[in-house]
């Protein structure tokens, strides 16, 4: 048997930290990086007698998410207590949602892979619910003890759960990326993975191809980068297949991924069979969300990536891949939309190429955000217009782009003027150059006449060079052919 005989089944649970100012049940700040326990209020440290009051901002973000994925937003949902003892859980229970979550169902469509192998997949979501985060246990040694910092305790989380519908680590990563992009798009989370604002748990199981019954799953906890997500799932798949092929069985377990070893290992704190004794939190009444509230949030929601992708494909004839790439972030999509708004839909494709190509490469190289790209949409649009009207060639455009990027010019026209990049379309100016080139490259001329197509390209190159890139390649082509009698 081999890997190909097995089918992989993956479901993801993602904890997204919501971008509220204050915590979900207290008025403490959620800002990252404060000194330990300085943002831990009486409620967060669970002093005797304190009570929770739910943050409207957290609920509103959940509604935004629900609308963005086409889910049902529960008119009534319930907060429950999940009871367990752990030093970073001050109350001895986590306030979460259990039987009646605020968001039910919904889908996210993702592009998996690139090029010919690319395909689209609809990921069904089970639910998304509001809950509070726990604090942190610091494992540095304090006289053989652990230190507890409760600044993070009570930070609002949206836990987003998929159905077990992913069949490879690539699908899982594509979903995680799309989700990451979406939560930032609709502005419910900063998505900062280093700071733990976006953490994935992967439920992984394998089964023999053609069988229905799901295999026993193991849950890999706390994956905070796409790379670790992929590696952890691959390690888990390898472990499970190997175990089964060796005649072993998989025990349901909660595991951690060790990126250095590339292995997963069971969590000791989860060895006990858990009995969380969920029950509705008697300190909190039912969360009721009115149709009016939903309608208002809907009115404030930005155009969603899926809608934009559809528009890019139908109106601009972009490929699914290009449309997905351009909507990787709201800022990038906005940049593109602004650019096309100026140059017009006819130039949507070259605009896409420049945004995804030169611009993205430069930003990436300099580690900059598209919002502070030195070349603004209007400037890029100006340049695209000059390519389109044959004022400059594509190679000259690179120079124009450079000039705009480096601040040597404030518009494409200024750059063209300053650097003398204007394409020469005047026949009387080009003919002498062509004649000179033909005279100086007799060998190429002969080769061409002997049937060597390559020689023609060499001649075009020579003309372009002699014109310092200012000649129009199309025009040069045409003239050359005429002169050579081809």
């Amino acid at each position: 048997m081999s890997r190909a005989d097995w089918e992989v089944v993956i479901g993801l649970e993602t904890h997204v930290q919501l971008s509220t100012q204050s915590k979900i049940f207290s008025g403490s700040s959620t800002a990252f990086g404060a000194e330990p326990n300085r943002q831990a209020s009486a409620i967060d440290i669970a002093l005797p007698g304190v009570l929770p009051v739910l943050n409207r901002g957290a609920v509103e973000r959940a509604i935004r998410f629900g609308l963005a994925i086409g889910a049902k937003i529960a008119p009534t949902s319930i907060f429950a207590r999940k009871n367990y003892f752990y030093p970073d859980l001050p109350k001895g229970y986590q306030i979460s949602q259990y039987e009646l979550p605020v968001i039910q169902g919904g889908t996210i469509t993702v592009q998996v892979g690139e090029g010919d192998k690319a395909y689209e997949k609809v990921i069904e979501l089970t639910r998304a619910h509001l809950e509070e985060d726990a604090g942190k246990s610091l494992h540095e040694d304090f006289h053989g003890m652990s230190g507890i910092d409760l600044n993070r305790a009570g930070t609002p989380l949206l836990e987003i759960v998929t159905e077990p519908v992913m069949r490879s680590s690539d699908e899982a990563v594509a979903y995680a990326r799309a989700l990451h992009s979406l939560v930032r798009w609709i502005d419910i989370s900063d998505g900062n993975m280093q700071e733990g604002s976006f953490r994935c748990d992967a439920n992984v199981s394998v089964r023999k191809k053609g069988t229905e019954k799901l295999g026993t799953r193991r849950e890999v906890k706390n994956l905070n980068s796409f790379r670790f997500l992929k590696e952890a799932i691959e390690a888990e798949i390898a472990y499970q297949i190997e175990t089964l092929e060796d005649g072993g069985t998989i025990q349901q377990a909660t595991v951690l991924f060790d990126p250095d070893a590339g292995e997963t290992r069971a969590m000791r704190s989860k060895e006990d069979a858990q009995d969380y004794r969920y029950f509705p939190d008697p300190d909190l009444l039912p969360l009721v969300i009115s149709d009016e509230w939903i309608a208002r949030v809907k009115g404030e929601l930005p155009e969603l990536p899926a809608t934009l992708q559809e528009r890019f494909r139908s109106e601009y004839q972009l490929s699914a891949y290009d449309a997905a790439t351009l909507t990787a972030s709201r800022e990038m999509a906005q940049y593109y939309v602004d650019t096309v708004a100026i140059v017009g839909a006819a130039l949507a494709k070259p605009a896409a190429n420049w945004v995804m190509g030169e611009l993205a490469a430069r930003l990436n190289k300099e580690g900059r955000d598209i919002t502070d790209a030195p070349v603004k949409p209007a400037q890029l649009a100006g340049m695209l217009a000059r390519i389109a009207d044959s004022t400059i060639s594509n190679s000259a455009a690179k120079k124009v782009f450079d000039a705009l990027w480096n601040g040597e010019a404030t518009s494409a026209d200024e750059a063209i003027e300053k650097q003398g990049l204007k394409q020469v379309t005047d026949l009387s100016a080009i003919e002498p150059i062509i004649d000179e080139v033909l005279a100086a490259n007799q060998r190429s001329v002969e080769e061409f006449r002997a049937g060597k197509e390559k020689a023609f390209n060499a001649l075009v190159g020579q003309v372009m060079k002699a014109s310092k890139g200012r000649a129009s390649p199309a025009q040069v082509n045409e003239l050359l052919k005429k002169k050579l009698g081809a």
Binding site: T20, Q21, S22, S26, G27, S28, S29, E35, P36, N37, R38, Q39, A40, S41, A42, I45, L47, V53, L54, N55, R56, G57, A58, V59, F85, Y86, P87, D88, S137, L138, H139, F142, H143, G144, M145, S146, G147, I148, D149, L150, L256, M267, R268, S269, D275, R277, P280, P282, L284, L285, P286, L287, V288
Partner: protein
């Protein structure tokens, strides 16, 4: 129904209460007395009755998203059994 010796130990562990054998036996007897009382409610047919979680089944009031708390770490940690460098100290936590 009645609670077994194992039930008593299981609950005590779930509730994080140390219980020696002698206490467990005493607890078992007392708990079974209490459950004898509780069992009376099993006689009632509650088919179709909605559970009542709360005296007033009204909507939860929401708080505006605003930071209203100030740092009171020192006051809070003054009553802590063991704290250092602003951290609560506990026996080593194993993940």
């Amino acid at each position: 129904m009645s609670l077994t010796h194992d039930d008593v130990h299981r609950i005590a562990r779930l509730a994080r209460l140390e219980l020696d054998e002698q206490e467990a036996a005493a607890s078992q007897e007392k708990l079974n007395g209490i459950f004898g009382l509780i069992e009376r409610m099993q006689a009632v047919d509650t088919t179709g009755v909605e559970p009542l979680y709360h005296p007033h089944a009204v909507a939860q009031r929401l708080r505006e998203d605003r930071v209203s708390e100030t740092d009171r770490r020192d006051a809070y940690q003054a009553v802590a059994p063991q704290a250092e460098d602003g951290l609560y100290l506990v026996p080593k936590v194993i993940e």
